[in-house]
């Protein structure tokens, strides 16, 4: 459905101020309350956080002062391997998560997108959406019961004498990745299903009828055509994984230190708000870079309709 001409509903001449937005003052009222909330409670706080990061780090001080602007907090971050290594680790873990989510998510998305029976397709969507909507802590709880040293897997394997000592499934990078993929997979799947459904079946049929086998059809037609979904989903998964606090804490048991943990630690344990703000800004920058790339790709492929 194309977007219909602007101002079709409002014949009144718009005020000069709102020339930028056709439809006049009355349509602006629609978006005003949400904009107000977003500006007052999202944009301003984020700018304030950014500003605080440029004050020298001092324990117990929250407010911003114009008089002493400095890069001290950022220097501190990059001078101490503890902090910047955590950011590198965050990015690495998130990249691995995005790749695994794609490898696991693509076949499922393809399977659901090609489902012809509407009842089945609806059921699959309910399952995927439920798994996305389910409380993150509950899902990690389930994984912990399953993968802990005395968890279900190790317990059963030990009881059956298949192993002598518990397998290290959790409290390491492996556990964190399993948790992050669990967290982000539904977003990957939702990004992919729509794109795969949108591929004209006659293109695949044409390739098949011209003699390409199934693998070749997939590699030369289906997969390249689903690239927008692949890129969008991967960057979305990356952004979700890189900002996650609860997953590395629960699945890594404080043995895999990532940047969101440093932010919380600086606030709750050290009380160094300004340094926490600086770390938050750097993490924010990494996510924003991912979002920016994501937005560029979707703009390019979907033409900015959505």
């Amino acid at each position: 459905m194309a977007v219909t001409g602007a101002g079709a509903l409002n014949q009144r001449q718009p005020l000069r101020v709102f020339r930028l937005i056709p439809g006049g003052t009355r349509t602006v009222l629609l978006v005003l309350p949400a904009t107000a909330i977003f500006v007052i409670f999202f944009i301003v706080p984020t700018i304030l956080l950014l500003a605080i990061a440029f004050n020298p780090s001092k324990v117990g001080v929250v407010d911003f002062s114009f008089s002493n602007l400095t890069l001290e907090t950022f220097q501190r971050f990059f001078n101490r391997p503890l902090y910047w290594q955590a950011l590198v680790r965050s990015v690495e873990l998130s990249v691995v998560t995005a790749v695994l989510a794609l490898l696991l998510g693509y076949p499922l998305s393809y399977f659901v997108a090609k489902e012809q029976r509407p009842g089945r397709a609806n059921l699959y969507m309910i399952l995927i959406l439920s798994s996305m909507q389910l409380d993150l802590i509950i899902r990690m709880y389930g994984l912990m019961i399953l993968m802990g040293d005395t968890g279900l897997i190790n317990d059963t394997l030990l009881k059956w004498n298949l192993i002598d000592s518990p397998l290290p499934l959790m409290y390491n990078q492996f556990g964190v990745i399993v948790g992050m993929v669990q967290l982000a997979l539904p977003f990957m799947i939702l990004s992919l299903i729509g794109v795969i459904q949108g591929i004209e079946p006659s293109l695949e049929e044409a390739a098949r009828s011209l003699g390409a086998n199934r693998l070749r059809t997939f590699l030369t037609i289906t997969f390249p055509m689903s690239m927008p979904g692949v890129l969008a989903g991967s960057l979305l998964v990356f952004a979700i994984a890189v900002g996650s606090y609860a997953v590395p804490v629960l699945m890594g048991g404080w043995r895999v230190i990532v940047t969101p943990m440093h932010i919380y630690q600086q606030v709750s344990e050290v009380g160094n708000w300004r340094f926490a703000a600086a770390i938050a800004c750097l993490l924010f920058g990494v996510s924003l870079a991912a979002v920016f790339v994501y937005h560029r790709y979707t703009q390019k492929y979907i033409g900015g309709l959505v």
Partner: protein, 293 residues
């Protein structure tokens, strides 16, 4: 004459006898894809199944095969002085968040889908941004802001936390409601307008019933996302304002307590029941195209 009748059968092949493609799929999904799809489904759903099993298990630790079914952890949850209040607090918070997010998000979606202006893509990205930014960062930004603006009286309050939840749930409402608005034929509303009804009446009698499914799905997502929100609540919760995920997280950090599994079972029940209720109104298979960009 006889030639035609002879030639006719080949032009009427048996495929046309079964016009539905159900029994013979022209594009069977490759076996490898089917196998991985099953594994991925299992991976997505097993954690929830395990939490329910632990909540209904008779022993303290879940074993395989299970020892037996018991309701003692459920009883423990219903008499708990940490989990039950947290559950009720989360319900209250999610309900208020849902109402505000749904109303404002629907209004914003109408604006974003109907009014063409330069920078609409940017405006859309602006409203969807909280989904992609780390919850810890948004939480820290709000906490710092509340502390710096004491006259707002929002620091460590229910309303302060609720505003954060509105920020992170609105993208879901905008995503689903916009999807249904793109599918709505605007000429229906124009017809109502040309027959003399005012803009509000045209909206409430024609458009709203048509996008009802998108709105109900969006409000469901807002409710559930708020109910399960953790990273944001981490920064904003206080001992007397503890949402359920935070209470569960606290108990998980120190000891394994099946009571929290029972609490989790009730949360899962809430998701499943509300998903099923909404699926009666909404065709979820349409949401494959839900976009978060």
């Amino acid at each position: 004459m006889s030639v035609i009748t002879k030639d006719a059968p080949p032009f009427n092949p048996p495929t046309s006898a079964s016009p539905r493609r159900n029994d013979k799929d022209p594009h069977p999904v490759p076996l490898l894809f089917r196998i991985i799809a099953v594994i991925t489904f299992a991976y997505l759903l097993i954690p929830a199944v395990i939490v329910v099993a632990a909540g209904l298990n008779s022993g303290t630790y879940l074993t395989f095969p299970p020892e037996g079914i018991s309701l003692k952890w459920v009883r423990g949850f219903l008499t708990s002085d940490t989990f039950l209040p947290a559950y009720l607090f989360s319900l209250r918070l999610a309900f208020v968040t849902m109402i505000i997010s749904t109303v404002l998000g629907t209004m914003t979606s109408i604006f974003l889908t109907r009014v063409a202006f330069r920078g609409r893509g940017v405006a859309r990205a602006f409203f969807l941004a909280p989904l992609l930014l780390p919850g810890v960062v948004i939480g820290l930004a709000l906490y710092t802001y509340y502390l710096n603006m004491p006259w707002l009286h929002l620091s460590r309050t229910f309303w302060g936390m609720m505003l954060g939840h509105v920020l992170v749930t609105m993208p879901f409402v905008i995503g689903t409601v916009s999807a249904s608005l793109y599918g709505f034929d605007l000429s229906l509303e124009e017809a109502a307008r040309s027959l003399g009804s005012g803009p509000l009446r045209a909206f409430f009698t024609v458009t709203l019933p048509n996008i009802k499914s998108g709105i109900s799905a969006g409000s469901l997502f807002a409710f559930i996302v708020s109910f399960g929100q953790f990273d944001l609540s981490l920064m904003l919760s206080t001992p007397n304002h503890t949402p359920l995920p935070f209470a569960m997280y606290n108990s998980l950090r120190y000891q394994f307590e099946p009571t929290s599994a029972a609490a989790g079972t009730f949360a899962i029940l809430l998701v499943v029941v509300s998903m099923l209720l909404t699926s009666r109104m909404t065709n979820f298979s349409k949401f494959g195209g839900m976009k978060f960009s």
